[in-house]
C-alpha cells in the first residue's frame, strides 16, 4: 500500500465505507475499487486487506455470504447491523481527523 503508515489506520474505515455504498463485495473487488477511485494512487495489498476483513468479521462488524460465480466459489463480505452503525461512527472520526490534519498542515484551506 502506498504511504502505508498514513493509510494503515484508516483501512478498516475505507473497507466499511465501500461496503456501506456497495452492499456486498469480495476481496479482489475491494482492491480494484480502491485502485479505481484513487486512480491507482492507493493500492491495497492482500497482506493488508485480508487481515483487516478477518478482524472486522471476528468483531462481528462483517458477515459473509458464499456464492458460486463462474466455476468457483466467491466469498462476499457485507456489513452487519452493528457494522452499519459502527461505520457512521468511524466515518465521523475519520472526517474529524482529516479536518484536524488539514488545520495543521494547511491552515488556509481549513474551514
Amino acid at each position: 500500500m502506498k504511504n502505508s503508515q498514513l493509510y494503515k489506520g484508516s483501512l478498516n474505515t475505507i473497507i466499511m465505507k465501500l461496503l456501506e455504498e456497495n452492499g456486498k463485495m469480495y476481496g479482489y473487488e475491494i482492491t480494484q475499487k480502491v485502485k479505481a477511485i484513487t486512480q491507482g494512487e492507493l493500492q491495497i495489498t492482500e497482506g493488508a486487506l485480508y487481515p483487516a476483513l478477518h478482524k472486522l468479521e471476528a468483531e462481528g462488524l462483517l458477515d459473509v455470504e458464499i456464492e458460486k460465480v463462474d466455476n468457483r466459489l466467491r466469498k462476499y463480505y457485507k456489513l452487519t447491523e452493528t457494522g452499519t452503525k459502527e461505520t457512521v461512527n468511524r466515518l465521523s472520526e475519520l472526517e474529524d481527523f482529516i479536518r484536524n490534519m488539514q488545520s495543521l498542515v494547511n491552515p488556509k484551506l481549513a474551514i
Binding site: G27, Y50, R72, L73, K75
Partner: protein, 225 residues
Amino acid sequence: MKLTTQQIAEIDETLVLNGLIYDDIKLEVTDHIASEIETKMEESNILFDDALYQVLLNWNEQMKPSLYNFWIRRKSFRGPRIVVDKCVSYYKSTFFISSLVPIPFAVISILCFHLFNQEIAIRIFRNSIRILYLLEVLLISLGWILIWNSKAKTTFSYYFKKSSYLVYVMPLAVGLGFWPNKLMEEDFAIQSIFTYFLIVMALFFVANIMLIINHLKTIEKLKLS
C-alpha cells in the same frame, strides 16, 4: 477471459501444497488469485502458467509458514501467515472480552454473597456452576463430534481444536478436587480470584461454542453455494 475448472483446480492444489487447507480462507484466496490471473491474462496477453507464477509471487508473504504462541506456550497456531493472522485476530478479541467482562460480574457475585444470606447465595451459585460444568463438558464433546462428522476443515475448527481442551480444565480440576472450591473462602482476595476465573471459564466456553457454530455455518454456506 474466464479460467477453466481445471485451471481453478490447479490454483487450489497449489494452495493446499502451501498448507492452505482451511476451506473458509482457501476459497477466497483461490477466487482472488483466479480474478488476478484473469485480469493479467487479458491485460498482458500472457498464458495461464505465466500469470499464475506472477500472481503467486505477490502471495508469497501470506503463504509463508508462521507461528504464534498463545497463552500457554505449549499451544500455538502454525500454518500459512494468512491463517495464523486470522486465528490471532479471533484470539485477541476473545481474550480481551473474556478477561475484562468477568470483572464486574465477579464483583456483583461477591457482593451478592455478602449482602444476602451468604450460604444461600453461594449454594445457588455453586449449583449453577455444577450444571454449567456438566453442560460445558457435554456441549464441547458434542462439538468435537459435530466437527469430526462434518469432515471439513475451517479456521474455526482449527482454533476450536487448539483451545477447547481448556474448557475441560476447570470442571475436572474442581470436580476432582485438584483445585479446591474457594467460594466459601473467608479471604476476600482468594474468593474474588476464584469467582473471577469461574466466570472467565464460562465466557471461554461461550467462545468455543461460537467456534462450533461458525464452523457449521461456514460448512452450510459452502453446501448451499
